[in-house]
Symmetry: C2
Subunit: 153 residues, 2 copies
DNA sequence: GCCGTTTAGTTGAGCGTTCAACCATCGCGG
DNA sequence: CCGCGATGGTTGAACGCTCAACTAAACGGC
């Protein structure tokens, strides 16, 4: 099948490389800050956030994985670590004996509450402060479109 | 210091979460495709690309790290693996005895050439096909602004 | 009520990244 | 030309992620 590759034109090249550089730099920076200030990677922070927003501060493993955009395996390993840190506790699910429920402990909530201001400040400094309100709006639309496109295709 | 945290307003929240979901999904997808089709993670692919674009297909380790947006340590480990795969070779630097030069081998170039069409197709499908030309332009400006902001601050 | 098929979740090995410690060399001030 | 800080690069341990294999329980059809 001699299908010709549709290579990226110079503008697309430039866009793609800028996007790569920016997103890598942004996530690396936030990850490093969070690791330094709160002793956890961003992925773990997000798990705690999702749990904290839920009534009872608890979620089935699968739902938590979905919410955090994580694979089951990843979440399983992560919760094991969070449990060892005393930030999350596992409970049996009353309605499904296969199920496990991850519960945010008080200590976990306190850790999250302590970490949040610094992290939010970082997001603001590194992302929102650099962009105009119009650009923020554009970024929202673009991201929502992409997220939608990636989950359905 | 009772400095009030400037929390994200609902629009910013939404933007930030959409951005996180989209960029995570995009990179995860491309990484998985590249791993499946070319047997290497995206970070390694990018190292090969940078080398391939250079006269003589070679670069000092530090320059390569810079170009690929990588730490020195990361690059060192990565090149070790790429060397084991036969895709890169290390040479002494004639002008600086501390220096090492990473050289893309013919085999490495061939592997890259074989992987490129599929990867480009992936970038197109998952990113550019989902966005309008206007949005692509917006994304470029936003990314360039962010990259600039992140490297100078 | 039984059997095959999903679904929930875990596990361990292998890999890539980070961080800090480290060695070697360079280049500059005195 | 000596000493010392800066630079280039590597190393090993700890950690997080991926993938595939696995167990256990729920579901669906007959």
């Amino acid at each position: 099948m001699a299908v010709m590759t549709r290579w990226l034109d110079p503008d697309e090249q430039r866009t793609w490389r800028a996007y790569l550089a920016a997103s890598r730099a942004l996530m690396d920076t936030l990850d490093r800050e969070l690791q330094r200030d709160a002793g956890m990677p961003h992925a773990y922070y997000e798990i705690l956030v999702r749990l904290s927003e839920t009534p009872g501060r608890q979620l089935r493993m699968s739902d938590l994985a979905q919410a955090a955009g994580s694979s089951r395996s990843r979440l399983s390993h992560a919760v094991a670590r969070l449990e060892a840190a005393g930030w999350v506790r596992r409970e049996e699910c009353p309605t499904d004996r296969r199920g496990q429920i991850a519960v945010l402990t008080d200590e976990g909530f306190a850790t999250l509450a302590a970490a949040a201001p610094g992290h939010v400040e970082g997001v603001r400094r590194h992302l929102f402060d650099a962009l105009s309100p119009t650009q923020v709006d554009q970024l929202r639309r673009i991201s929502e479109t992409l997220a939608e496109h990636l989950t359905t295709s």
